[in-house]
């Protein structure tokens, strides 16, 4: 029995085979292979923000780590939408693992101008349930595409002032190239597919920022008629 999952304030027991991994426990939890991607990401991060899905589990490790679970009780694991200040240093304090040789972080920051106009502040709005789903998909896709160990995405919504961080992405890996590539892919993909919008407030008015076109597979499916 590996007791490792504390979600929504509940601790649950799962019976898994010897040498099981987090991915195996995902199957135990969802009852089928290839369960919801969101669950995989959640489990991958829920222990301590540091455990990839392929990391071996054992009961003693789980017990030893249990104390860490309290700080990551968010059911969405390493994908979060927050309303308060993003404190990158605090969030990333326990992100690195001994096997990591690189950690790349990206912070999107509120700039004081846009297309020649002076910006006062931004209002970010999200379709939160869908945004969490889409961000979890990006995490899972990045873990599958790049040789990286773990990913974290935190996006802030609400009113943000100049200089504040709107989004934090962190990628940890054994080697730097994969971490750089994955981080760049994640931010570029996020701003095309994750349903979050920003309204720019200027001295002389406000406007919703022009988004980029949706990727072709969204666009075709949505506008083919």
């Amino acid at each position: 029995v590996a007791q490792f999952d504390k979600e929504e304030s509940r601790t649950r027991d799962y019976r898994v085979a010897k040498n099981a991994t987090l991915r195996a426990t995902q199957h135990a939890k969802t009852g089928r292979v290839g369960g919801p991607v969101a669950r995989a990401s959640s489990l991958g991060c829920a222990r301590d923000f540091g455990s990839g899905l392929k990391r071996p589990l054992d009961a003693s490790t789980s017990r030893r780590k249990r104390g860490l679970l309290g700080m990551t009780m968010n059911p969405h694991g390493c994908v979060q939408i927050v309303r308060e200040t993003i404190d990158a240093a605090a969030i990333l304090a326990n992100f690195k693992y001994p096997a990591d040789g690189a950690m790349v972080t990206f912070e999107g920051v509120v700039r004081d101008n846009s297309r020649g106009r002076r910006t006062l502040y931004l209002d970010y709005e999200a379709y939160e349930v869908m945004a969490i789903k889409e961000m979890n998909r990006l995490v899972e896709a990045a873990l599958a595409q790049f040789s990286i160990r773990q990913v974290m995405i935190v996006h802030r919504v609400g009113r943000l002032n100049i200089g504040e961080t709107s989004v934090l992405i962190a990628v940890a890996s054994a080697h730097r190239a994969a971490a750089f590539d994955a981080c760049r892919w994640l931010i570029d993909s996020l701003k095309r597919t994750v349903p979050i919008w920003k309204k720019e407030h200027f001295e002389d008015g406000a406007v919703w920022a022009d988004g980029q076109a949706f990727p072709a597979n969204v666009q075709e499916s949505s506008q083919s008629s």
């Binding site: 595409q145 931010i187 701003k191 597919t193 994750v194 949505s222 506008q223 008629s225």
Partner: protein, 97 residues
């Protein structure tokens, strides 16, 4: 049947509300929802073909069938994060969208 329609970003401003319940005759598709609002809210045409739609928080095309109680969202192009990119390897494996 009834579906719940959500508006975000510039579409919410145009619609003057963030959500409403829409009555549709069955069978209905997302395209029926789109046409309804393109007719009732002429400003929607200014977005042209750039908006996307979702059913129950999943991107879906205009031919997607609707069921009673579905949550439909009209989504303008997203703008989270930073602007502009030329990164080529934009792929969405595993049915990401």
């Amino acid at each position: 049947m009834q579906v719940r329609v959500l508006f975000f970003g510039v579409l919410r401003d145009m619609a003057g509300q963030s959500a409403e319940v829409l009555n549709l005759s069955e069978p209905a598709t997302l395209n029926d929802v789109l046409r309804h609002y393109q007719t009732s809210i002429p400003a929607f045409h200014t977005l042209g073909r750039s908006l996307a739609m979702s059913i129950n928080q999943e991107y879906a095309g205009p031919q997607a069938k609707l069921h009673p109680g579905d949550e439909v969202a009209l989504l303008p192009p997203v703008s989270g994060g930073s602007r502009s990119s030329a990164f080529k390897s934009m792929r969405f494996p595993g049915g990401a969208v």
